[in-house]
Chain length 276, copies 2
């Protein structure tokens, strides 16, 4: 999916919500345990209940790998269940030397190789340009580079002053030379809303993937105040607050209610900004 198509989906659905599919077996509604693959059933029902309210889904690979081969199979089958009109994000935080990153790109982008083809993958910047470039050789596929993450550990290195910039600023500035805003997004946590003005100075046109709204405590309105641009430019992720809205048989219905509340808030924001 290219940038224009993504913005069209945002306008059509009046939403820039991304739903994080990070399922833990122990937290699943008990009635799902009778299924052969309870996590797949959980994901499918969540997708069916929310796909008209969100523009993106973001499974985090850790939650699948933790169950070994079975888990990887669940990830592939979850990918196959995504409707065509959603932007799909493999939240994998990969990155390695060039020839190895090329293998990761095949793993997440080349369906012939791995049976999956996400629209995008999150990538860790530490290893620099040749660790990112292989992901940029696929048409209409995206790198979502970690910039300023939502967790406490983001203070350990990302915000340290490096030459005349903080490290995360340097990551944005340097990587902007590797690809344009039609192929590169950045991860910026909702827990740092005060940084969005600064980030928009460095990356005015890029989409930002924003985790940390909901369970992690970030505020949607604070993020939007400086984060929105003329093509929306934001994908705001919520995971736990939606997928675990209820632990009963009504989990999908309650997930829809949570997603709807966020979609309606987003619709107001998009209207106020004259984007719809």
């Amino acid at each position: 999916m290219n940038k224009q198509q993504l913005f069209e989906q945002i306008q059509r659905k009046k939403s820039f919500l991304c739903v994080g599919l990070d399922p833990v077996l122990d937290k699943l509604p008990k009635h799902l345990l009778k299924y052969e693959d309870p996590i797949l059933e959980f994901n499918k029902q969540l997708i069916d209940a929310t796909h008209d309210l969100c523009v993106a889904y973001k499974p985090n690979t850790a939650f699948y790998e933790t169950r070994g081969v079975k888990g990887w199979d669940t990830l592939v089958k979850t990918w196959k269940h995504f409707p065509k009109d959603v932007f799909t994000i493999a939240d994998a935080k990969r990155g390695d030397i060039g020839n190895t990153s090329a293998m990761y790109a095949e793993a997440f982008f080349n369906q012939e190789s791995s049976d999956m083809s996400f629209d995008s993958i999150t990538v860790a910047p530490y290893m620099g340009k040749d660790s990112v470039s292989p992901f940029l050789t696929y048409e209409d596929k995206w790198v979502i580079l970690l910039a300023l993450t939502s967790n406490a550990g983001s203070q350990d290195f990302q915000t340290k002053q490096s030459e005349d910039q903080k490290l995360y600023e340097q990551v944005i500035t340097t990587s902007s030379q590797w690809a344009g805003s039609d192929q590169m997004m950045y991860v910026v946590g909702a827990t740092k809303p005060e940084e969005f003005q600064n980030i928009r100075r460095l990356a005015p046109d890029n989409f930002l993937l924003v985790p940390g709204v909901g369970a992690q405590g970030g505020s949607l309105s604070a993020v939007c105040e400086f984060g929105l641009n003329s093509e929306c430019g934001l994908l705001v992720n919520a995971a736990r607050s939606i997928i675990y809205a209820s632990s009963g048989e009504d989990f999908a219905e309650k997930a829809r209610e949570e997603a709807l509340a966020l979609q309606q808030e987003m619709e107001q924001i998009l209207k106020s900004a004259n984007l719809i």
Copy 2:
């Protein structure tokens, strides 16, 4: 495997060689294609041919993920084929917010969860302490943190001056407070031998995992000059130069010859340093 046991294996085998198992289907000897899982057969024969000459094996997860569910199955079965006396490294370069890194730790360390239990995993430092800590809660399991990698992109951020240190120096200094040398190793590429003196100043007691000897052009003797410590302190990885030593039916035999040449060079180095 703990640090003392690792050093004992190094002394017993007179080797600090790590063999990188990074198989690509297209590069496999053709006669293996008749097997149901050619890559598994390739790995098994390589392990059988080299395990007395090396102390560690390091499969890079990218080379398995690229083949989807099948590839993950090959990784699990390769892990099961490792002899008990080798140190096993999941070269996965993972790292995420705390609760997600805990899932990755289960994926690579908890056999009940994922059917695999490596001795160690490579971790990317960008997301800081809470992205690394969950891997440190397992007894006798190790984090191998990326410090100064072997690729060209290592110049993009790792060597930039951050406050009074280069970023990679800051990574070592800061992470030294998270765990001792009994649980933390660092990745330092062989392509930067001039940095080893400096790194030993910051991390005198830690083992260093050193990729980049062989196909990437690093020199073993240059690495050892400043890299060795009183418990050896080095695991030097070679992958392509060993696993692709021949593309014929003699591939395992030729791999053994390459591994033997490195082991013999290492034996001389260990003797000269009075470590055996």
